[in-house]
Assembly symmetry: C2
Homo-oligomer: 208 residues x 2
């Protein structure tokens, strides 16, 4: 998604070789028009399942707006966002999954109320970032507990070198990332070339 | 906003006399179409300042989608969401404000990066709930630190009996709440009658 990559280059800040800060338009300040374009691009990438999505699942906080704008382009399925605050993990009204944060070096948990994810529901997972994949795998785990079905995982920015998408694909999930960062080098952000993105599948990406 | 009140009656759950749970459509699962209608209603309520809003400010997590959909109807000003995670409150890149949560009985802090709120910017504060007003007053405090200007406060559901709007109006702020709960009684939700909402101001509410 060229407009997104251009924005990452112009407004993103690379820190060291691991961190990419995009809080000027994605996860602290939000460019709402860009979010609409992101939602529309997810529709294009997942056009084959556009009308099959029962629910869009994400995790608070910065996934919420991305998921909500994506819903508009998929016929308005409900968005459910997993919550991060710690509550009693024995609460039987919720599914829980542990998530290890590499950047913050701590273990936390995400949860969703059981009544908002039912067996057999077809789920599209949406998130702003995919790094080591811990948050996404936490959501995958919640969906498995609910015996719902994952149709795909849509990511705004993937840091490929941290391995999250590899883990997800190994488990058989389809991952669509709108911008794939291959590496961060001398504070330069290097994107994966679209021609190299073969293993993502050939989901009508002529527009790029 | 009748459609919102009807939804609160049909899907909201009153617990005791203080708590109203609306997580089936507002703050865990999200009804995106309703959020569009909420954004449009805020435009109607604040129609006199529709093109004057430089920035929409909210707080994570459930305020984010409300604020983002409101932005669409105000000419797409950037949305900034205050963050709740605890970081070093001495970090000079941020404004901090303490927030007392009555429901969780704990003190937390909210913060925004200084670069995303500048002196003189005209700010519309948007949030999903207004109860005791602590979160809103925290945001007001952040705006004051930045020497920005508050044009108004837009709230989806106000629990009037907890006094938040009274505190905000006492400080001179305009508050527009789309549904005002006067009291919760015997697990029944009692809304304030629109004819009694005189002190909110007469901002073109003919449609209601």
């Amino acid at each position: 998604m060229d407009i997104l990559k251009e924005r990452i280059i112009s407004d993103g800040v690379a820190v060291g070789t691991e961190i990419l800060k995009v809080d000027s338009f994605l996860n602290h300040q939000i460019d709402v028009k860009l979010f609409e374009q992101i939602g529309d691009e997810f529709r294009r990438r997942f056009s084959d399942i556009e009308r099959s999505v029962d629910k869009i699942l994400t995790v608070e906080a910065s996934g919420i707006a991305v998921a909500a704008f994506t819903s508009r382009y998929f016929g308005y399925p409900p968005v459910v966002f997993a919550k991060k605050e710690s509550v009693n993990t024995m609460d039987e009204d919720y599914y829980f999954s542990e998530v290890m944060s590499f950047t913050r070096r701590k273990l936390s948990s995400v949860r969703i109320a059981k009544k908002y994810l039912r067996a057999g529901e077809r789920v599209l997972i949406i998130d702003d970032f995919l790094a080591h994949g811990q948050a996404a795998l936490g959501l995958v785990n919640l969906v498995a507990q609910a015996e719902a079905e994952i149709l795909g995982v849509g990511i705004v920015i993937e840091k490929e070198f941290q391995g999250g998408s590899r883990k997800l694909r190994k488990k058989g999930f389809r991952v669509e990332s709108l911008a794939i960062v291959e590496r961060i080098e001398d504070e330069q952000i290097v994107f994966k070339k679209d021609s190299e993105v073969g293993d993502i599948g050939n989901y009508s990406r002529e527009g790029e």
